[in-house]
Amino acid sequence: MLKVHRNICGYCGCCVSVCPEGALELMDAYLEVSSACTGCGICTRACPLGALEVQDEGKV
């Protein structure tokens, strides 16, 4: 599952553009993750700040 560290995120939309599932959406100043997310981790690479993290179900 994808965790958005909102204290780090700069709400820029970079991650939105690379998600193959269309699971992310930038709602102005915060990011929403839909159930379409597969946890593939592509977006976590693209983020200029490192605000995204794929976590195990147990940890969240």
Binding site: G10, C12, G13, C14, C15, V16, M27, R45
Partner: protein, 398 residues
Amino acid sequence: MKERYDVLIIGSGPGGAIAARTAANAGLSVCIVEKRPAVGTPVRCAEGIGMDALAEFIEPDPAWISAEMAGAEIIAPDGTSMRLSSQMAGSKVGYILERKLFDRELVKQAVAAGADVFMKTRAAAPILEDGYVCGAKLEHNGTVADVRAAVTIAADGVESKFSRWCGIDTTVPLREIMSSAQYLMTNINIEPNITVFYLGNTVAPEGYLWVFPKGDRMANVGIGISGRKSGDGHRAIDYLDTFVKAHFPEGKIIESIVAGVSVCRPLESTVADGLIIVGDAARVVDPLTGGGIYNAMFTGKLAAETAVKCLKSGDVSKKALMEYDQAWRASKMGKTIERNYKVKEYLIRQPDEKLNSLIRSVKEIDLAEMSTFNLIRELVRRNPRILLDFGAIKEFLA
């Protein structure tokens, strides 16, 4: 807000604003919706644009120009510098804008032409009927309203979702997103009218770092790196911090932004039934420079002109709107994207030593007309062997 417009435009960036101004000037009823609370902010841009490119769309005004540029400098990985200047000494070649004010001015002009505009209003879904995009569901302050339109223009930028909701795959490959960070810095020593670009795998892997002056002792200092080179401990922000510490230790950061810019090929189709896609949403950024302000305005204008024609003939099918798609691909902008895509693909595969030798070969050029095209032509002239690697771009350089 009316229930129906001729044209509904999603996004108030340069693409959306010029589309709105053009369509409204032609007498159409036009509505722009923007999810952010203010036009143009936060800025996601280094704010550079060529003088002639800007003049195609708007009269330059010091109110939204931060600085005038007379040339550029490219710094190789080993520190070798190449200076580019215009042949006419002292003449300016481009501007660094104040995008917050520039974008606002464009929207103001669209409104003066008759367009409606609604802020903090998000397109949440398309209205789809018989496969046609017929407008959008708009969310505003907790309410949802249907707004119908004969033509919908998606100008929703790099984070575009609208076209995807209409069934178009807009995914940018990880390696072709420039993961970016930028500081607006003050109290730094810079040449006030020269843009500087730093290349190299240790500075900015598969991308570049820029210093774009914004006035006295002030500049946009930013970086874009390929998404595939980005990861924990080596993200855009890490490279930027390293650079800033080494080059501008005395500087102070007065604005800090992050962003993404696509350097992939444009979408395979930038139209659908009732829908036209423009600017960053269509992925029409110049893949070599990352410049997209002009391209957004150019496609925005063309989209509106096509909408005007198709509304007149009463046919807004994909087939009819395809005129837009074909026109921008055949334009100078479309051809430049195609050429620069190949140049970019070539350059990102070069090791630092090769970049050093390329830049050393030129050092100083006086270009009659400062453009990436002239620069590439000059590089090839002095390094004829590049042509062997370039192959397919030969015809563009002829």
